[in-house]
Symmetry: C2
Subunit: 405 residues, 2 copies
C-alpha cells in the first residue's frame, strides 16, 4: 500500500531519486540561448585587454586635476588623440592629456578620464580641465569584465541573452549544454480520437498529448508521442517497454483512473517498481510515479487540466533535474478578487486570471471542473490553497505561479 | 533640437506611432506554442459533445436519491453499463441507474452521477445509493468546455501549452499566428572584431550583435545580422537602406555615441526622420528612434549592457506591437539587500541578483560599469530607481523585472 504524498514530499522524492544525466551537446553560440550550461564557464583571457574609457573626453593622471575648478582650470597640453580600435602606443606623460572616445583605449599612466563636458579646448594645444577627477573615474580597467580563472557562468545556469553576450565577449563561439531529455507520451483511453477527427457520441479528442508536447518543448525537452493506446494492459505494457527504451522519461496519461488506472500501476509494477501512488492535491490525486529500467515513468490523470498541472508540478522539475538546470521560478503577489472555499484535506490548485487595478494585481479564480481545459484558456497562472486551509477571503494576499515558463 | 524623453514617454511614442503588421502565417498546432494568435478563436461545436461523468459511479436522476442515507439507501435497479468511448443509446428510466466510468457518457435523463464510494452493489441487479446527489453533481454538461460562438482565445494572446490543449479539444489542427517580425542588426565601430578573433590592442569583440540576436529570438522575432560596419557614414547609409528594405525593424548599435553617434542620427535624418533622440535613463541616454520608409530604426548605445537594456525596454515592446501580442510582464517583489544611491536626474536601471531568504526575496544590486556585460551574467533581472529618487535604503521593497522573457 502506498500512502498519499504531499506535493512537497513528491518534489523531495524526485530530487533524491534521480540525478543529472551525463548527456551533453556542443552547440554554436547562436543556438545556446535558453539551454542549460553543462560546465563552468571560466575566464581565459582579460576582457577588455586594455584600459577603456567609458566617455568621450581626455585621459589624464587624476593627480594633475586635483584642486581645479571652473574658475581655476588645470591646464594640460594635449599630447595627441587615440583613435577607436587603436592601441595607445606611448604612455601618458605627467602633466599632459590625450583625447579619447567612448570605448577607446587609454594610455598607460592615465588613471582617469575627464568628460568632454568638464573641459575646455583653448585651441592652442592646451586643454582646460574644469573638474577634478578621482583615480578610476570613467575607466574600465583591463580584465574588469573577465579575468583569467574567474567563473563567469556556473554549470546549470540557463543561458539568457546577456549570458550570450558574456560568452561573445570572451570569444566563446560554441558551448557545452545539457542534451534535451526525451520525454515519451502515451495517451490511453478507448474514448480518445485524434484531434482532426470529429468525436462520435461518447468520444473525446486526445488533448493531453498536445498539451504535454507543448509543455515539454517549452521546458527544454524533446517530446516523443506514442499516440493513443486502447485500454488494454498488454498493449500498454508493450508501448511502455518501447518508450522506456527510447526515452529519458515516460508519461502515461489517462490510465490513472479506475479501469486503466489499475493497468498503469500494474504495468509499472510488473516491469519495475512504483515509487509513489497518490498525491494529496486537487486536481491530480491519482498521479503515479514509478521506475522501469531506472527510468522515471509517470501515470498522470486523464483530465487535461489535472494532467497539465501535475506535469507542470512534477515532470518539469524532473526534466530540470535530469538537465542539471538551476530553474528559478518566482511567484507574483496578488490579492484575491473574491472569496474561494476549499475543504478537501488536499492542497487545491486553482487557475487565476490576473488584472492590474490601481497599481495592484487582482487574482480572479477560475471556477471550472477539472476536465475543462478551456477554463484555463484565459488564465495567467495558478495559486495553491494549502490543505489545512478552508479557503481564502476576498482581498487575501496570494502568491501566483505564472504558467509562463 | 530634441528634448530628452522619459522611458514612459518613449513607450507611449512607440505605442502611438506604430501599428500591428498584417503579415500572418498558418502553422500546425505542434508549432504554435509561444506564438501570437492572429484571430479570435471561436467555438464551432460543442465540447464535450455529450454529458460526461467526472467520476466512476452510477448515473442517476438526482430526485431518485433525495432523502437516502447509509441506513436507508435508495435502491435502484441497474439498467446497464456504458463503456468508455461509447454513446448512451437509450435514456435513463426513472428509478433506475446505469454504471459509468470517469469520462464516460451519461445517458439522457440522468442529471447526476453518484461516486462508487457512496454506493453498494447488492449483486442481485440492485444498487444501493447511500448519499443523495444534487442535480449536476459529478457531471460535465454538453458544451461546458466549448459552445458554438464563444470566444475561447482572443486575438493577440500568446499561446501557452494549455491553450494548445483548448485548440486540440476543439479539433483545430492549425492556427493563424502573427508572422515573426524581422529585426536587422547593424553593429558599428572601428574597434570591433568578430567574436572568434583575438582582439588586438584597442579592439573589442562584437558583443551586441549576439546579445540582440538572442534577445530578438527569445521575444518572438527573426534576427538578421548585417555584421560589423566600419565608422563611415556612407557605408552606414548603404547598409541601413538595405536593412530597411529587408526588415521590419532596424537596430544600429554603437553609433549613438559622439563620432558615429552623429553619423547614425544624420543617416536617419537624411533618409527619413528622427522621432526621439535621448532618453532620461542610465544607462542608455543616447538612444535614438527614427523612421525610414515608415519603418522604425533604432540607434542604440554601443556599451553592451546599455544596448541590451534599451533593446529590452523599447525594441521588445515594439516587436510585440508589430505582432499585436498582448504581452504580460509581471514584476517580482523583493527587498534591497543593501542601500544604493542614485542621483542623476535620470531613471537608473540596476541589475539585481535574487536570493530567497526566510520566505522573502532579497535583491542584491550589481554594481558594474555599463560596459561590463559579464556584470549581468549572474543577474536575474533589473530594478528601476525613479529619476526623482536619490537612492534606496536597505530593506526597501522593490519591484524586480525578470530578464526571463
Amino acid at each position: 500500500m502506498f500512502h498519499v504524498k504531499t506535493p512537497e514530499e513528491v518534489l523531495e522524492i524526485i530530487n533524491s531519486n534521480f540525478s543529472t544525466l551525463e548527456t551533453e551537446k556542443l552547440i554554436p553560440l547562436a543556438e545556446a540561448c535558453g539551454r542549460t550550461c553543462k560546465e563552468n564557464i571560466i575566464g581565459r583571457e582579460y576582457v577588455p585587454e586594455f584600459n577603456r574609457s567609458t566617455v568621450d573626453g581626455y585621459a589624464v593622471r587624476a593627480a594633475d586635476t586635483f584642486g581645479c575648478s571652473d574658475s581655476i582650470p588645470a591646464l594640460l597640453p594635449l599630447a595627441g588623440e587615440i583613435l577607436m580600435g587603436q592601441a595607445a602606443n606611448s604612455p601618458l606623460q605627467a602633466g599632459t592629456c590625450v583625447a579619447v572616445a567612448t570605448g577607446g583605449a587609454v594610455p598607460e599612466g592615465a588613471d582617469a578620464v575627464v568628460m568632454l563636458e568638464f573641459t575646455e579646448d583653448y585651441g592652442d594645444g592646451t586643454i582646460g580641465i574644469l573638474k577634478p577627477a578621482a583615480p578610476g573615474n570613467n575607466l574600465i580597467f583591463k580584465g574588469d569584465d573577465v579575468a583569467p580563472g574567474k567563473i563567469i557562468i556556473p554549470a546549470g545556469h540557463i543561458l539568457e541573452p546577456h549570458d550570450i553576450g558574456s560568452l561573445a565577449a570572451m570569444g566563446i563561439t560554441s558551448v557545452k549544454v545539457s542534451a534535451k531529455p526525451i520525454v515519451g507520451i502515451i495517451s490511453t483511453g478507448d474514448e480518445l480520437v485524434e484531434i482532426h477527427e470529429k468525436p462520435k457520441a461518447g468520444q473525446v479528442r486526445n488533448v493531453n498529448s498536445h498539451v504535454l508536447e507543448a509543455m515539454i518543448k517549452q521546458a527544454g525537452g524533446k517530446p516523443r508521442s506514442y499516440g493513443i493506446i486502447r485500454d488494454d494492459e498488454h498493449v500498454l505494457a508493450c508501448y511502455v517497454a518501447k518508450a522506456v527504451s527510447e526515452c529519458d522519461i515516460v508519461i502515461i496519461s489517462g490510465g490513472s483512473s479506475v479501469g486503466m488506472r489499475d493497468a498503469t500501476a500494474k504495468v509499472i509494477e510488473e516491469s519495475g517498481s512504483i515509487i509513489l501512488h497518490g498525491i494529496a492535491m486537487k486536481p491530480g490525486k491519482p498521479t503515479i510515479l514509478g521506475l522501469i529500467d531506472n527510468k522515471p515513468v509517470f501515470g498522470l490523470p486523464g483530465h487535461p487540466v489535472a494532467a497539465y498541472l501535475t506535469a507542470r508540478l512534477y515532470v518539469c522539475p524532473l526534466m530540470a533535474k535530469l538537465m542539471g538546470s538551476n530553474i528559478k521560478q518566482y511567484t507574483v503577489t496578488a490579492r484575491m478578487s473574491e472569496a474561494i472555499s476549499s475543504n478537501h484535506g488536499r492542497a487545491e490548485f486553482v487557475g487565476v486570471l490576473l488584472e492590474s487595478v490601481d497599481n495592484e494585481l487582482l487574482a480572479h479564480p477560475i471556477r471550472g471542473k477539472s476536465g475543462l481545459i478551456t477554463s484555463l484558456a484565459a488564465s495567467d497562472g495558478y495559486i495553491c490553497i494549502p490543505r489545512d486551509c478552508e479557503g481564502l477571503t476576498q482581498g487575501t494576499r496570494v502568491s501566483v505561479n505564472l504558467w509562463k515558463y
